[in-house]
């Protein structure tokens, strides 16, 4: 499975800020299921609670009572750059010269190792493996000579890679996106207070109004009900992560000012336009492929079916199956409707093939149930290069498309046909195709990765 990014939430001057953060994270739970945390400021003290697991498992009424205050930032995390543990859960809190700072981060620095080494030589001590802590050290060091905002700008000038940051310092709430705007961050309004979230679905749940994107390279400082904007770097062409639209974002969200639902439908439409097999119907692997499949079916004028059923209770921890239960983890998630499969020519639409193992198991199952033909259409070009900015596609050498041609993958999967969306098709599916990072598809990295990222995996 592709590991998600993180989800961010910030709010200022709002009673029960922690409760709002809870729901803001809850709506963005799909962005990180490993840990969750909230920090609040009550005018004198910074409070925090972090835990492993889903938002409703980490927080309850008793915990919320211990998070008083009108200011909050929150974070859900799916570990990318660091190992999985409570210590790495965010927000990250420090005390420095009488000041309490809470920081939450979504992204991945490419020069983290170098910065960490340099800071350690200067006496810095690290408690976690998270990039967050690097920011904190850089900011604190810069604050010896500068005010807070300038120190943050200074810190950002030192780092390279992807980063979306939220800072809560007293009743000042700061949000920023890296100069390429790799990850999303938007500004919303809830009555007289401001909200910063990764995805607009969090605004919808809170019934907050969407104001605008935080721009790439922009830092917004929210204080006393006013939003002040500071540029971190000269404007350049954004390179936003195309996978937010292909895979990560909730379809009801607006991300990078694009409606995710429509983008996916257009990807499906383009995909059908490029190559429609002669089949009885189109169906997705729920839930990731649903929207592309709908677009595909409409363009291809083929019936749309929903013949793989998802178990809604999956996601909770459960006990180990018995040894005899082969492919259990695949089967427990989705189960095909037998009567729809037997004797049918089927076109499956999905958004990606990473290692190919899950796809292979599912195709085999369809064959077992008597599918006459199985055609696969993928609503994104092949993922051939690793992401250096935060997506954990797969461990090294595991990306099937990195070393195999489409024809070879087709043979491995044993399907009647296999097509990926073309880069042109993908470009046509979004509003500003120039504004996207497509490094995992093309190998063209907008920020030069550290030694090791792109090269080792793909042999360049």
């Amino acid at each position: 499975m592709i590991r998600h990014y993180c989800g961010l939430f910030g709010i200022n001057s709002r009673q029960e800020a922690a409760r709002h953060a809870y729901f803001g994270l809850y709506a963005q739970q799909h962005r990180g299921q490993e840990s969750a945390g909230i920090a609040t400021w009550d005018g004198t003290t910074l409070h925090e609670h972090r835990g492993m697991g889903l938002v409703p498992d980490v927080f309850n009424e008793v915990v919320l009572q211990q998070l008083p205050g009108d200011y909050a930032i929150g974070h859900v995390r799916y570990g990318t750059s660091s190992t999985s543990s409570l210590r790495n859960a965010q927000p990250f809190i420090v005390h420095h010269q009488g000041m309490d700072i809470a920081l939450a981060h979504n992204g991945k620095l490419v020069n983290a190792e170098e910065l960490r080494r340099e800071l350690e030589e200067d006496g810095a001590i690290f408690r976690t493996a998270s990039d967050c802590e690097i920011f904190v050290h850089l900011i604190v060091r810069a604050m010896r000579r500068k005010d807070l905002e300038s120190a943050v700008v200074d810190a950002c000038s030192r780092v390279r890679g992807s980063y979306c940051l939220l800072l809560l310092i007293g009743n000042k709430l700061i949000g920023l996106r890296d100069p390429l705007g790799i990850h999303p961050l938007v500004l919303g309004q809830l009555e007289d207070c401001h909200v910063l979230v990764s995805e607009t679905c969090a605004l919808d749940l809170l019934e907050a109004e969407y104001l605008r994107l935080v721009e790439p390279g922009e830092m917004v400082v929210i204080q006393n009900g006013r939003v002040h904007s500071i540029r971190l770097a000269p404007t350049q062409t954004p390179k936003q992560c195309i996978f937010e639209l292909v895979y990560f974002g909730r379809p009801d969200s607006l991300i990078f000012d694009e409606q995710v639902y429509l983008c996916r439908k257009r990807m499906g439409w383009q995909l059908a336009f490029e190559s429609t097999p002669d089949v009885d119907f189109v169906m997705p692997f729920p839930d990731s492929g649903v929207y592309a499949a709908i677009g595909f079916a409409q363009c291809a004028e083929l019936p749309y079916e929903h013949a793989m059923i998802r178990n809604h209770y999956v996601g909770r921890t459960f006990i180990q199956p018995t040894q005899g239960m082969r492919n259990f983890s695949v089967r427990v998630k989705i189960n095909p409707v037998r009567a729809m499969i037997e004797g049918k020519r089927i076109c499956i639409v999905d958004d990606s093939i990473v290692r190919g193992t899950t796809m292979l198991t599912r195709v085999k199952k369809l064959r077992e149930l008597g599918a006459k033909e199985v055609h696969i259409r993928i609503s994104c070009p092949p993922v051939r290069f690793p992401c250096c900015y935060g997506i954990d596609f797969a461990s090294r050498g595991e990306l099937i498309a990195a070393s195999k041609s489409v024809e070879e993958i087709k043979c491995i999967l044993g399907v009647d046909s296999l097509n990926y969306l073309s880069l042109e098709g993908l470009a046509r599916s979004v509003a500003h195709s120039d504004y996207y990072c497509r490094a995992c598809l093309t190998g063209e990295y907008p920020v030069p990765p550290e030694e090791g990222c792109g090269r080792q995996v793909c042999g360049k």
Copy 2:
């Protein structure tokens, strides 16, 4: 929300019987989310564990270790006839004359009060409010004069209503359905052992083979690897619960030998055939309406869209929203995709309207987002009568269709048009339309209800 029935699972002569029961219940979790329980027999002792909550919350590895044995029955429950508490969770266990009996029940007796009174007059003591305990008393009393199987037949001759029973007594596993077969029960095979489940999706998860329905009025006795069949009552026309197909069953299940997915698609098709509005697209309220909407869209030759997004993490307990968050519980479950709604003429397909309040909130939301027209199509006739056999549609007088005409409901909801599937259309959607109980739609109760059930609510 319509409350589900219960889910049953039984297995004989299988190592790790409890682990199999765990997964058999897990696959049927949608049938009961209030409590779960498993009883096992290890050759000398009956073990049990029951708890409130979902299957993965009630059981873990430590608990499973305490459920040794090769024989198991399990139960998931959504309270119908009794109050919600651990005491009422099943299986129900008794010790009688050196014999340990475990019993699990899905259904509702209409003469429960009468039997309970009679048994109490004869000295019986009740620990729970469950119908299960009535069966136990009847069986034990009959066993004074008869062998076990005859005693069960005898007990069944005393009760009226709906019932599916599983009994585990030593290494004997018994399953039975009432003479009308109101609830489902099927027999499967897993290598050399037999499995009894409510829905076939549990067989799929275990990779067990589907053998056949337990027939209405049939009792199957499984022992030493053999299945023996006993008739409880003369054959009569079955009256199976139509709502299993309309709403309860998982779409990938075979229920009453009908493929749920196909039935729902046919209901949608018939519905479109009866009345198709002039709209831009068709969409379901996920997930209940998905399959009827697909059938509807195909018949009506309209685009199918999936423009209401379900939050996959809902279902877990979460904290209370703030006071300002109106209609929170509706909003947290599904969120519309704004860009798809504005200026559109939309046809919503769903499977039922019970009280109308949720539907009203959702329609209002669509209007707020700028829907030009909203048409509702319901893939089942109006639910005008209470169910006396186990479905908890709503408390008295709350069934909107019991007192309002379709035209009135349309006005209340403020929609441009509203149509329900006709009884004829429903009949055409299933294989043997005579074999179904439609009392909630027609008021014709196949088993005369106790004073109070049908009458009081509907004023007949």
Copy 3:
């Protein structure tokens, strides 16, 4: 270890009855650490909560909120007659003919098997292995012809053995002791309401006033602020359990109208009077031997020391020690003060030797630390016969004094001298020596035990 009896608590017409029960059980925790339960009556409904573990583990504020009402009975249990499980935890609740009955029991019936068989033949079904359920069946059967009080009297006429019962039926609270008064039950007053408890230490914690013993063979019915007394059987010489004074009772309690502290001190005094060794000091094994040791030291005019230190945190579950940690469970409970042991002649006073294994380990430890002489004095005669009325001294054949002489035990333990208190000495330590059951010491059972109890173990 000697397993304790159970502890009972009942209260009527008191706000927050459950909270009072909580503290009433908390004060009597030493009487049962295996499970705890409370049932309350709120005027219309009987509520209950039971759980495995200590009172503070089973109950919390949330649970107490679910136990509303002004009437409560509670129970702590140390399994004697039935296996250890939540199902056997008390109070035992039944519904019968519109009436809710809660029952809690301390004792053990000698004709339980016979009654159980007889009731089962009459159609009774048992859910538990507890004697409680036998009472319930007997009472309910008798109520067909009689009012409640008479039915209870009738039920008591059928059983033989030891029993203290509390019943809560609506706003009627009933307490009773068997005709021999084997177990304790006292009546107290808290402002205008009545309280029934096993030991007076529970009254002290609640600041309730001690009124009087419930007499052997007396049933008290508390309703509308009045206490009504009914005799269960003709008055006879009581046979109260001497071990309540020797071992079970809290030293600050009044049991059978005797002050436990003083009784134990007198036992120690008598013991010293009968045989005082020439030693440097006297010390107890805490905490059981403390009070007898104090009496012993005073009579013998020897220094009292407290040179074995008890770990106050023992009692909680903890993880398993490593394999190398021999005799860990003994060592973790008490640790000797090295400097007090080396080169010393020591007299240990304790209240009993059951199997002798723990004593042996402790004596060895003292020898290891350099004790010059170790003398043991036991403040009770040898336990040579099993108890048939509820004490679980040890499993069969394990009572060291049943098959070994005092001289043999002395050799096994490897001590310099060993003396037990004489029967006469014990008699002199209590107020009415005729009023006590001493069957475990003499083999004279006041209620003839069922086949098997006394005989099999002791070979008579």
Copy 4:
């Protein structure tokens, strides 16, 4: 209540090091009940687990499985210098230049604020309020120029106050005591591995052998089975905390090479020697006063009684009593034996009076029960000055002896006589009276406290 210090445990080259640490902390639970933590090193990775609560609540088998390795340090904490929260729980873990460091600390620095300010000016960031983190920063900074051992020595030269430290860095285990040796730390041996503990009772539980004190101002470095000793500072007269002997230590421990039991007995003996009232008997308030009371009774040739009974289950969290239950928290802990109090002249021996409130309640209770005379003897001189090295006697101005004379306290308590042990008597009770810090009794602080500690409270 007087808040305890912390307890430390370290072990090297021992399989199941975490399990040993668990029991080593368990035996020292009395030294800190607020949080517990263990860090282990498995040859490549440092693992840790910390939690709020008692050792058995924080750790279980599952947690222990996640703490592999042959090296461990552990910590139990009763918050002194910092607020109570998981973040402040120890051991404290940092990563620095590829090295993992775990550190546990018992003590309190008097120049913490100054050091913290200075370090922050140099760019250090603090995550906690614990002194531990100051040490870490000092050590890491010193390591830029020096090896580890020298860096630790250097760090210690910067701090003032009390400190006992354990460090685990790879397979090197370091323990040290501050130059005055204010807190205890001893070295033990378990077969071929070494153990560092605060009190010897932890060695006893593990059956480890006691080797020797870690000397004041000594740092021991344990690696490859060898112990290497380094001096932190020139030898000076130790100033060990006298309250370890008076109150904190377990009586079965050897602390500062003194047997705690004997010291307390001698304090009681001296106390009786200084002033014995004419009473019927002597009794302690359990458990703190037991050993002094025994010594007192022996010197005074008065009977020793144990007439206040301690509830062994106290210590667990329990629910709030009802409003009517006055003085509940006192009563729930100990309950007097009524029959022993009435008409008696009683001498109570206890180890300290801090605020006087608990003592007042207990004396009132004895009067209520009819005590004819109540005399108090305290086995330590009046605590008149705050501790600056880690004991949290009471918040400011609350020390009753700081502002009241003994005569005034006697009047406030309403007792017939009140005597404290003299400073000379205390000196005679220990082996090397010069080696102890008695600042809380005399106001002579061996390390000059920061502005504020001694002065503000006591008005000097």
